[in-house]
């Protein structure tokens, strides 16, 4: 069972991966085909009518006939360069004046002479000597140099390794016929890279700012660094070998592998993976080229670049292809798909260039990796900026939504709060009403019934008066206790003292009021009216007992706060100097006592009564905190 359960999710997952990967890979194959076709179509058309193919090559003291395009062996010395000698025919009469010589592709530098006079030396144009650019050269031949009939053209090909020297077909003819082909090549291989590089530099600035403002998203920083490297590489031309700053050129060789490693890092971060620690290895080739460029002489960095740097670029492109393929499978979004296609194009171009370098595929040694890579970077940068702008829009709309939601929630909360408050108020009111009813029922109701009964039986008015007074007293007590006393029981006792004194005055009983501690009783914020009623009724009962049964002359009420270190609590004592409960009927005493006890229990107080012939003493010990619910009520 468990085996099946474990395998069950794996199989659909594998199927899902296959169902996503296969169409993607098929599409990439289509892209490869399209790229190859595109490269073919992109190949500028040269004016074949004016091509010079047959040359005599003098190399290392040996002369032989060759046809261009022609590769010569690699070398590291500029002395005694290969010398191509050819001839062309010029008819002074039948053609337009203004002839030119056009070299679509050569590496690394050429010196062209017509009839022994040098008309072009590409070594003076640093950009023209870059093997990764396919810079064409054209120069007009001064008409005084041209002889009617056969003319001699010599091309010295300066080569510095490790790449082989290359000389494409040489065209000599009317300038008007050659110029368009030159312009096309210039546009494609000079102007376009510059435009891309400019674009890249702008994006580098934008991405760097983004990264500076959002440090926790290193993806922008990585891409910005890659672009900065690319821009530096593009705009600082590597000087020809004898130049004094060749060390800089050597160092700059490190840019391509480093840049490609950065792009891999970018892709990994962009698609939401963690950059693995061993990923730093990818930067090692770039670093090696850099260090070697710093310390070693000219040929070694170049050799290292070709043997280490270029494969690193290829490896990075391959990794990129894998990363994007994985991203496509996982995310199935436009970004991963687009970048995947771009990587496929660049990879195809790189393979194309490699085949061209190793002369496996014969073409005119047009290197397109750099161009396609720049285009890809620009596309990525533009995509990122677009994504950023879209995120900003989302943030805007999210903020708007948030404001609306917060407002809605606030209103709901307000409504529910109002409802809750209303409900709580209603509940409190109902509670208070219940208590009030119970209190009135306990006191006033019973007393009024008793008045009715007494008057019906024609009793003497004294007992009716007593019952009515008791009823009034109780009513005042209930009303009084409803007042907000802010948790200060002393305020309730103050009123009670007045009522008790008034009650005792006709009986000639003195009420001694002793407040033992200055503040009287501790404050009880939790004190509720019904607590007050219970306490005052206990005190009333004690006073009434003293009046009715004990024949007391003095009643002493003592109020004190006792603090034994575990929190203060109040104690109220009522003591009389009567004769105690002697001669009382047991049932009356018992009922009164039970009443007082239960009332004390309801408000969490301890009740003690002691009685002897010296008098009766009631001690009510208040709780530190009054109970919230009337637990002992029922």
């Amino acid at each position: 069972m468990s085996g099946i359960a474990a395998n069950a999710p794996a199989r659909p997952r594998r199927r899902l991966i296959a169902s996503r990967l296969v169409p993607y890979l098929l599409f990439q194959v289509l892209i490869v085909v399209a790229t190859i076709l595109g490269l073919r179509l992109l190949q500028p058309i040269d004016p074949d009518d004016f091509a010079l193919n047959g040359f005599s090559l003098r190399e290392d003291g040996v002369a032989r006939a060759v046809t261009v395009p022609h590769f010569t062996s690699s070398r590291y010395s500029l002395a005694d360069p290969p010398l191509y000698t050819g001839s062309f025919t010029f008819r002074a009469g039948d053609t337009a004046p203004g002839w030119s010589v056009f070299l679509p592709r050569f590496s690394n530098a050429v010196e062209v002479a017509i009839n022994g006079v040098v008309v072009l030396d590409s070594r003076r144009d640093a950009n023209a000597n870059r093997p990764d650019r396919n810079t064409p050269q054209i120069t007009s031949i001064p008409s005084s140099l041209l002889r009617d009939g056969s003319n001699e053209i010599t091309v010295r090909l300066y080569v510095w390794g490790p790449l082989k020297g290359f000389l494409d077909t040489v065209y000599v003819g009317p300038d008007a016929a050659l110029r368009p082909a030159f312009e096309t090549r210039t546009l494609l291989f000079v102007t376009l890279p510059v435009a891309f590089s400019a674009w890249q530099s702008i994006l580098a600035v934008i991405l760097a700012i983004m990264w500076l403002m959002r440090r926790r998203e290193p993806v922008y920083g990585v891409l910005a660094a890659a672009m900065v490297l690319g821009v530096i590489q593009a705009f600082i031309p590597p000087p020809v070998p004898p130049a004094p700053v060749s060390r800089l050129a050597s160092v700059l060789l490190a840019s391509a592998p480093t840049e490609s490693a950065l792009i891999v890092a970018f892709a990994v971060l962009f698609f939401g993976w963690r950059w693995p620690r061993y990923g730093a290895l990818l930067f090692v080739p770039g670093l090696i080229v850099f260090v070697v460029g710093l310390i070693a002489g000219p040929p070694l960095p170049r050799v290292l670049f070709v043997t280490l740097g270029i494969p690193t670029v290829g490896l990075c492109l391959f990794l990129m292809a894998c990363v994007t393929a994985a991203a496509v499978v996982r995310r199935q979004d436009a970004a991963s798909f687009t970048i995947g296609c771009a990587v496929t194009i660049v990879l195809t171009c790189w393979i194309h260039d490699m085949l061209s370098v190793f002369e496996i595929v014969t073409n005119e040694r047009t290197f397109v990796s750099r161009l396609s890579y720049s285009a890809m970077l620009v596309a990525i940068g533009a995509g990122l900026t677009w994504r950023f702008a879209r995120a900003l829009n989302q943030v805007d709309s999210f903020a708007g939504q948030l404001v609306t939601r917060v407002r809605e929630a606030e209103e709901r909360l307000k409504a529910s709060f109002a409802r809750e408050e209303e409900r709580a108020r209603a509940a409190a009111l109902a509670n208070e009403r219940t208590r009030l009813m119970r209190d009135l029922h306990d006191g006033l109701g019973g007393q009024l019934v008793s008045i009715v009964a007494l008057s019906e039986r024609g009793h003497e008015s004294a007992s009716i008066t007593d019952a009515a007074r008791a009823a009034l007293k109780d009513l005042r007590l209930v009303i009084d206790s409803m007042d907000d006393i802010g948790g200060d029981l002393m305020l309730a006792l103050g009123s009670w003292r007045e009522r008790a004194a008034a009650q005792l005055r006709p009986h000639d009983i003195a009420l001694d009021w002793r407040v033992a501690t200055p503040q009287g009783l501790p404050l009880h914020p939790e004190l509720r009216p019904w607590h007050v009623i219970q306490i005052v009724r206990i005190l009333d009962e004690a006073v009434t007992n003293a009046v009715k049964h004990a024949q007391a002359r003095h009643i002493t009420v003592t109020i004190e706060t006792i603090d034994d270190g575990q929190g203060a609590y109040g104690v109220i004592s009522v003591a009389d100097d009567g004769r105690g409960f002697v001669g009382e009927t047991a049932s009356q005493t018992a009922r009164g006592l039970r009443n007082m006890r239960s009332r004390a229990a309801r408000c969490g107080s301890a009740f003690e009564l002691s009685s002897d012939s010296q008098g009766t003493r009631v001690r009510l010990q208040l709780p530190q905190v009054f109970p919230d619910s009337d637990a002992a009520a029922d």
Binding site: D483, M490, S495, W496, R497, E498, A502, R505, V515
Partner: protein, 227 residues
């Protein structure tokens, strides 16, 4: 035995109470104590009686068949400034008593008070003592606290301006509210016992909104009106 004022004449009391048995009861107690009592059962009768001459003491119920006792108190206070006024109340609830105090009444008398207490209260009143009950004192001091805490929200109950009360007067009210006797209050506050009733009289005066002009003055004092 007959109660007499400084001039030797009998002290006159106007008793305004619509419930006849209550009226008889109070009248009996007061007549027995030697006062000259005229009684009225309604606002109209009371006004008639006032035309006949200002009584030394006016005892009035608040709920009268043809109007409210507060009107009578206000009129009497204006026309007869020397008359001592006291409210007769069944329950002594702050709600009605305080509104009477603000128009010039001094304390209240419970309708079921014992006859001796009735006589004592009126005698004290005539002697210049102003009785104040614990519950009224409590209401006033709670109001001074409330005014300090929430000045924006109007407090429940009758309007009462406690702004003019001094801290000492508020301390005295606290003492009364907590059930202390004048002697105890005096000793706590370091006063002589005899000065306490005077303070209480001042409290009554300050709670009273005498005239329109004074009301405006107080409003300005409290910043309710800006001049």
């Amino acid at each position: 035995m007959s109660e007499q004022g400084e001039t030797g004449e009998a002290i006159t009391i106007l008793l305004v109470e619509d419930d006849a048995p209550t009226c008889w009861r109070l009248q009996d107690a007061l007549v027995k104590a030697g006062y000259e009592v005229r009684s009225a059962g309604s606002l109209g009768e009371a006004r008639q009686a006032l035309i006949g001459g200002a009584p030394r003491v006016l005892l009035t119920d608040l709920r009268l068949p043809d109007g409210h006792g507060v009107e009578l108190i206000r009129e009497t206070r204006q026309r007869c400034p020397d008359t001592e006024i006291m409210v007769i109340s069944a329950l002594g609830d702050e709600e009605s008593v305080i509104s009477a105090i603000t128009v010039g009444a001094t304390g209240y008398l419970l309708k079921d008070a014992f006859p001796t207490d009735i006589a004592t209260t009126v005698r004290d009143l005539v002697a210049g003592h102003s009785p104040i009950s614990a519950s009224i004192a409590r209401f006033i001091v709670r109001r001074t606290q409330g005014a300090a805490q929430t000045s924006a929200e109007p407090l429940p109950g009758p309007a009462l301006n406690t702004a003019r009360l001094t801290p000492r007067e508020i301390d005295i009210l606290w003492g009364i509210a907590k059930g202390f006797s004048y002697a105890e209050i005096a000793s706590h506050l370091g006063l002589s016992k005899q000065t306490v009733p005077g303070h209480i009289k001042n409290i009554y005066r300050k709670l009273e909104v005498h005239t329109r002009g004074e009301a405006v003055f107080e409003a300005v004092q409290q910043g309710l009106i800006k001049l």
